[in-house]
Amino acid sequence: MKNQWIEFYRGLVTVKASGKGIERFINALTRSGINIWNVKNHGTQSVTFKMKLEDAKKIRSHARNSDCRIEFLRRTGAPFLMKRLLKNSGFAAGALAFVVVILLLSNMVWGIEIKGANPATEYQIIKELDKMGVKKGKMQFFVDNVESIQRTLSNNIEAITWVGVELKGTTYHLQVVEKNEPEKPEYLSPRHLVAKKKAVIVEMFVEEGRPVVEIHDHVQPGQLLVSGIIGKEGQTETVPSKGEVFGETWYKSEVILPLKSTFKVFSGNEKVKHSITIGNLEIPVWGFGKPGFEEYELEENKKVVKFLKWELPVSYVNKTFREREQVTRIYSNKEALDAAKDLARKKIKSSLDENAKVKGEKVLHQSIDNGKVTIAIHFQIIENIAEGQPIIQGDSE
């Protein structure tokens, strides 16, 4: 028998023939080369059989010549299946659209949660995030990665010391540590102010307490500057003394700087490659060929496509090749000295309070040998040297 699967792909019809002379009709069909099969008798004078779809048109002329009436009962096979599929394609399209929508929504930013910031900083952070494009409803593919958000935030916002950015599902969680924590009201206990380090007093602003030293006095570390005990003898009272005592202090800074140094800089040339990875297979989308740089730094940005809470093995990869160049810097002797002084100043400033001032500097010693500059500078700094020292009750009496 024939393989009916092939017929299935081309389509077949079930035909019902009824009337007199069915046998003659069937003979006529077979003789004219029409294949029929599964001939079944259904009661008197009626027969059903199957035939190819392409023969369905030929059958009519044969039927007209005989006394039979024919009727097409069922259409089966691929052509009809296709037709039905096309008719019901709305469902398939709907299902596809559903998956696509879920996929899109799974890869959107749905929330930004900021913890540990006061309202003002929070507003600032939100504005900064807005500028970067981190917004509700944005696709995660077009948003910078977590590290760069973190970097940009901590660079651009003065008020924060550190920010931890974490992407959990569709929500960015930001953990903020502010530089100046909301100021706690000070409840000072009675105290003296004493000197932090060896200095010569230059200026004094005493808000509360009794100053015991004067300008131009030379003080030693731990020496009492402002007493917290006020009032006449016998009627003393202890107060939390408050104030600033500026003293001239001295620092010595030593810097060693090589005359010749090499370091790496980016030339500014870069090449970006976009690709989509499925499992281990990487399909380039845009940016082909080799970077063309001899030395480069590769920054890879990978965005995993998520579906609901699962991560698909599909991801979008963005590679940036940045050209790197080696630069050799050679200082002349004079330049080297200037640079070393500059460095020394910077070093001192970074170790001091904000309100400290450099009053004067004096190069103690400088030498150039073995390709290195060694310089020692003495700095005169004016800074607040007052430090609180609590008055213990037993002491004061």
Binding site: E23, R24, I26, W37, N38, N41
Partner: protein, 96 residues
Amino acid sequence: MAKKWGQFVRGWMTKNMELPQDVMMDLPRITMIGQIHIYIENHRGLLAFSDKELRLLLKQGQLLIRGKAFVIKTILPEEILLEGKIDSVTYITDTD
């Protein structure tokens, strides 16, 4: 007279030249598989078909098949495959 002579020649040839009879003499070749299948080659057309009976025209005479639940699985101009429960296969020949 000529027809009888032609038949005689064919009969003689098949006997002496060992040729298959169905080819030479237009006889039906019937293959049966138990009671369920019957395969008939060299028929000359359908005469009657119902689910209990199938009558086929042959070169000479007719073939009558009786049984139950007949279904013609395939029908070609000279071949037919019948399925069902076959009870009897009878040759009907005109008396000549």
